[in-house]
Symmetry: C2
Subunit: 312 residues, 2 copies
């Protein structure tokens, strides 16, 4: 038995087909496209890759995307000044601060910077007012990754109401909002984390299991009830041959990639889970593309709200 693969790329393409005409209509009505300002501090290679993906997806769908760069040496004040400029910039409807910020910015800087983004342009749904509205089940903007997971489950006809969803990971970007979105769709929800005892037994109760911890291959077949839906949010670049040995049997296509490139992207879910799960998201090509699509949908939503409010 092999799990059905939940194709996030295909769904993301369908979402862009919905979004693009709405972006075009917005541009026609207001004489400008919906705009997103991306704050990119320093030159973290992974961040560069993520930002390129967001720029391409956004521009292809008709958005204005501006990458506002600051050097690795930027101070917190520099970053805050940039955010403040974007807060009051008319062509920018959304602001995204690419995480992580470099050490030069200081400890707890991300929280300070995320908080500085005005709620009207908070397309990541990270500010406390948006998070609060999410708890109250009246959010317009919710963090892209968990929203994308819900979108995928719904589009694949996987029932959520009445199911037991187990979320491994309690981050503010994925774990907690994921649990809340499941709860509002009437799932029973369990949140597990590093302090959870007997994690595999709890995970095995799940009808829908979400792994979002950043540990390559943590979720092995013993974590999975046969036929369960498994959502892999982890994106881990693995370079350690010992980890590779633990994950891939001889003949697995990713083994060839590793031998050629010296590294390979793997999720939090062990490849052998595909023999147990009923449905499974791949890494890459699962949740990742949906995160970006939801970001773009959020940008369109903030653009409309701003345009509606100001009439411009």
């Amino acid at each position: 038995m092999s799990a059905r693969i939940l194709d996030g790329r295909a769904l993301a393409r369908r979402l862009y087909l919905e979004i693009a005409p709405q972006v075009a209509a917005f541009s026609k009505q207001y004489g400008r496209p919906p705009g997103l300002g991306i704050v990119l501090v320093g030159n973290d290679p992974a961040s560069e890759v993520y930002v390129r993906g967001k720029v391409k997806a956004g521009r292809d769908a008709g958005f204005r995307i501006d990458v506002e760069r600051l050097p690795t040496t930027a101070s917190l004040d520099d970053v805050l000044a940039l955010v403040e400029r974007l807060n009051t910039s008319n062509p920018h409807d959304g602001i995204l601060v690419q995480s992580p910020l470099p050490p030069s910015v200081g400890p707890d800087a991300e929280r300070t910077v995320f908080d500085a983004v005005t709620v009207q342009k908070d397309v990541d749904g990270f500010c406390s007012a948006n998070v609060g509205r999410l708890v109250q089940n009246r959010a317009v903007i919710a963090s892209g990754t968990p929203s994308g997971v819900i979108e995928l489950l719904v589009s694949e006809g996987i029932e959520i109401a009445g199911q037991h969803a187990v979320v491994i990971g309690r981050s503010e970007i994925v774990g907690k909002p994921m649990a809340l979105l499941f709860l509002h769709r009437h799932a029973t929800v369990t949140i597990c984390h590093s302090r959870t005892r007997d994690l595999s037994a709890l995970a095995r109760q799940a009808d829908i299991l979400v792994a979002a911890v950043g540990q390559p291959g943590l979720v092995t077949p013993t974590f999975v009830k046969p036929g369960a839906t498994v959502i892999d949010v982890g994106v881990n670049r693995v370079t350690d041959p010992l980890v590779i040995d633990r994950l891939f049997e001889e003949g697995h296509p990713k083994l060839a990639v590793f031998r050629e490139k010296g590294s390979v992207l793997v999720g939090d879910v062990h490849p052998a889970v595909s023999e147990v799960a009923g449905a499974l998201t791949p890494v890459p090509g699962g949740v990742g593309p949906l995160t970006i699509a939801m970001l773009m949908r959020n940008t369109l939503a903030t653009a409309r709200a701003r345009a509606g409010a100001s009439g411009t």
Copy 2:
């Protein structure tokens, strides 16, 4: 075997012993006591009882407590005008809107009114910014009932970290904030509700079980792992003899109360659970007194924050 009774009244008394000298010091420093305005619309008998309890507890601890009444016929605009007056009133550091509001105010009125309370005076922790900060584990003000439950568990030496906490009920006032507070104290958390399948089996996994649904005696011994801690948030006034029959065996003291008064207060936990649980909160005298104590602590916190900000 009979469960240890977790005495909320006793803990509330100890909390007031801590709070009262701080209230006195505040009054001395700023020339006025910390003040709470309670908005009471209409004449719901249960609300009258709750408000009396808050007034007495607050005044005994040295707070200024003003009950601002509006008639049952008050419109939403009337209530909002009153909230707005309290928002800008200097002697009031906290504002509490007693729920439920009467039907005259209109549907969804509570949300609108709660939102109108300025974040600086939101002693119930209901506004979206305070709820968001709770998710982010940096709340100063959290809803009184779940905060009181945590206070009780800690004071009784009941471990939370690493334990499995199961919360039955997903309200914004108790269920969701309770789950978040457990999560931040490193419990594994499951949230159950009306759509949960096999509720008793899930509840039976709990090391700490919280019932907050408003169904008299819902949690029977089959819901409870032997030795578990059971927190009963329900406060139900029962007048139906059939329900009474299901709950109390001949000789139970509450049966005598019922026969004398025609009604009796019962929680969401069946009395027979005391034979299975390791520790149990009574109703009344468990969570209720702590809710009020935490409200007063929140009022002191907002008073200090306001005084610190304005220097007055």
